[in-house]
């Protein structure tokens, strides 16, 4: 492999890893707060992409307004999802909550087919993200450069919120000891809603950027990335934000490496995530950055 190809693949790897990281954070934040796997998270990712699609193509909004509207709607959708599918089961056995999560996922996917139509749609081209950028012999779509930058920006913002705001402090408290947090007069429902909102917003952001890089939408597009990012969160140590980011990047980078260096195995790129999951869990059951006792947001 020559140097230009290497750089090209590196950019691909970083942008795919970024997208995985963005989605994985949602799983890990919700798990950290509620000890719940939100199986509908991949579908929220899909909705983010569709919201942006309709905002731009049907409502004819300028792309950036469309994105803001889509992200807000995705966050609101995540909050509503928790209200409807999870909060009524807050004190129920884990299994009931899990069944509700899987049910919500199927419901969103099938409603998506009914409302959006099952046929794939193509995302409109936005010049800023769709230009070819050249660095000497290396050329790539500008969106591939924007993705890691936007991701890192979001990660910094998230870290600041979690570590340096009152709401972030309450999130960390709720994730370690819900009853003790209640005794501090923390409004647990509000913190849970906030967590779902932020997690869904990041998934929506991931969804929008995904459709700009791979410009096709379909109502089932959230399933595979959703599953892989869940795996990424577990690999990194579920409940740990840094872990989700690490897991996401790891998965994205390795996936691109396989495609680039072992083209014969390209057909197995999805299976590889599961192999990695099994290996990591065998060696370190709590995930790479997971601690066995305290679960951090």
């Amino acid at each position: 492999m020559d140097l230009p190809t290497f750089f090209q693949q590196l950019v691909n790897a970083l942008s795919l890893g970024s997208l995985y990281a963005l989605i994985a954070i949602g799983y890990t934040m919700v798990y950290g707060i509620l000890r719940l796997i939100n199986f509908a998270h991949g579908d929220v990712f899909m909705l983010g992409a569709y919201f942006a699609f309709y905002a731009i193509t049907a409502l004819l909004m300028p792309w950036w307004i469309g994105f803001i509207v889509a992200l807000s709607l995705t966050a609101l959708f995540g909050i509503a999802l928790e209200r409807v599918a999870y909060r009524p089961l807050r004190d129920s056995p884990r299994l009931s909550v899990m069944i509700s999560a899987i049910g919500a996922s199927f419901l969103i996917e099938n409603l998506g087919i009914v409302i959006f139509g099952g046929r794939p749609k193509s995302f409109p081209s936005i010049p800023l993200f769709d230009t070819v950028v050249r660095f000497g012999p290396v050329s790539m779509l500008s969106v591939s450069l924007f993705i890691p930058v936007i991701t890192i920006g979001s990660l910094i913002a998230l870290t600041l919120i979690v570590n340096h705001t009152k709401t972030g402090l309450a999130m960390r408290a709720v994730s370690t000891d819900v009853d003790a947090a209640r005794l501090m007069a923390v409004d647990v429902n509000k913190i849970v809603a906030f967590t779902f909102g932020v997690g869904s917003l990041l998934a929506g952001l991931g969804g929008i950027m995904w459709t700009m890089k791979y410009p096709q939408l379909n109502p089932l597009m959230g399933i595979m990335p959703g599953l892989k990012c869940f795996i990424a969160a577990v690999i990194g140590g579920i409940g740990n934000i840094g872990g989700a980011v690490l897991g996401g990047f790891l998965l994205g980078i390795i996936e691109i490496l396989i495609v680039a260096f072992l083209p014969a195995l390209t057909g197995y790129r999805d299976a590889f995530a599961f192999v990695l999951l099994i290996v990591v869990l065998l060696v370190k059951p709590t995930g790479l950055l997971g601690k066995s006792q305290t679960v951090k947001v």
């Binding site: 408290a173 003790a180 209640r182 501090m184």
Partner: protein
């Protein structure tokens, strides 16, 4: 005044509190003593609605607390320092204190209360940036009390603050209970260490398997034959 009438709590089939009545007058120290499983913690948790009550009412200065959310109860000045301390181990001492003050918006008041708890517990000031999980048991108890004080309690309820601590620290904790009370905070103290609790308390209630079987001024209970036999480990 905190006033509890006919309070009942069930855990599934277990009738943990079987209709208890008691009062905590303003400015006093009242203690609830009893053996393991008597229902002491359940009583405190019921007051702040961390467990559901089956019947009975809880009034705080005439206002009905029953059915309110924990966060709203805490905001009325009813604050619980729970059994087992329950400090947030992965957060620093400072962050734990900030959570104590979570419901407050008076920055100046919070800052001066923070100084005040550092005067009460100089040890915590030295360990401000340390994770609470790395503190010793005694220091964690100090943090639990300090954190509760940061909520600006009108009534401070403490669940076994002396549990598992060395005698010297126990004495210190009880001294601080007195000091907090002198500064104007009403105290409801739950203890298995009946002797220390009755010595410090104005009034005491003895709880046995979900019922109050005895009550009276602390000194009177200390002298009571049944109390001495059952809780102070004296042979009659």
């Amino acid at each position: 005044m905190l006033s509890v009438q006919n309070l009942s709590v069930h855990y599934g089939g277990i009738h943990a509190l079987q209709g208890i009545d008691f009062e905590v007058p303003d400015g006093k120290i009242v203690t609830l003593i009893g053996a393991n499983g008597a229902g002491k913690s359940t009583t405190l948790k019921a007051i702040v609605n961390l467990v559901k009550t089956t019947s009975g009412t809880i009034h705080w200065n005439g206002e009905l607390l029953t059915g309110k959310l924990t966060k709203d109860i805490v905001r009325t000045g009813v604050v619980l320092s729970p059994e087992g301390r329950r400090v947030f181990p992965n957060l620093t001492v400072d962050e734990n204190l900030a959570l104590g003050a979570y419901s407050r918006n008076d920055k100046v008041g919070v800052a001066s209360d923070r100084e005040r708890v550092f005067v009460l517990f100089p040890r915590l000031k030295e360990r401000m940036k340390q994770k609470a999980g790395t503190l010793s048991g005694g220091e964690q108890q100090m943090l639990a009390v300090a954190r509760a004080l940061m909520s600006k309690p009108k009534i401070l309820m403490m669940d076994e603050p002396s549990l598992g601590l060395a005698p010297l620290i126990v004495k210190m904790i009880f001294d601080i209970v007195r000091e907090i009370n002198k500064a104007g905070t009403t105290v409801l103290l739950v203890e298995q260490n009946a002797k220390a609790a009755l010595e410090v308390a104005d009034f005491g209630y003895v709880l046995e398997t979900g019922r109050i079987i005895l009550s009276g001024p602390g000194k009177t209970l200390l002298a009571d034959q049944r109390v001495r036999a059952a809780y102070l480990g004296e042979a009659i």
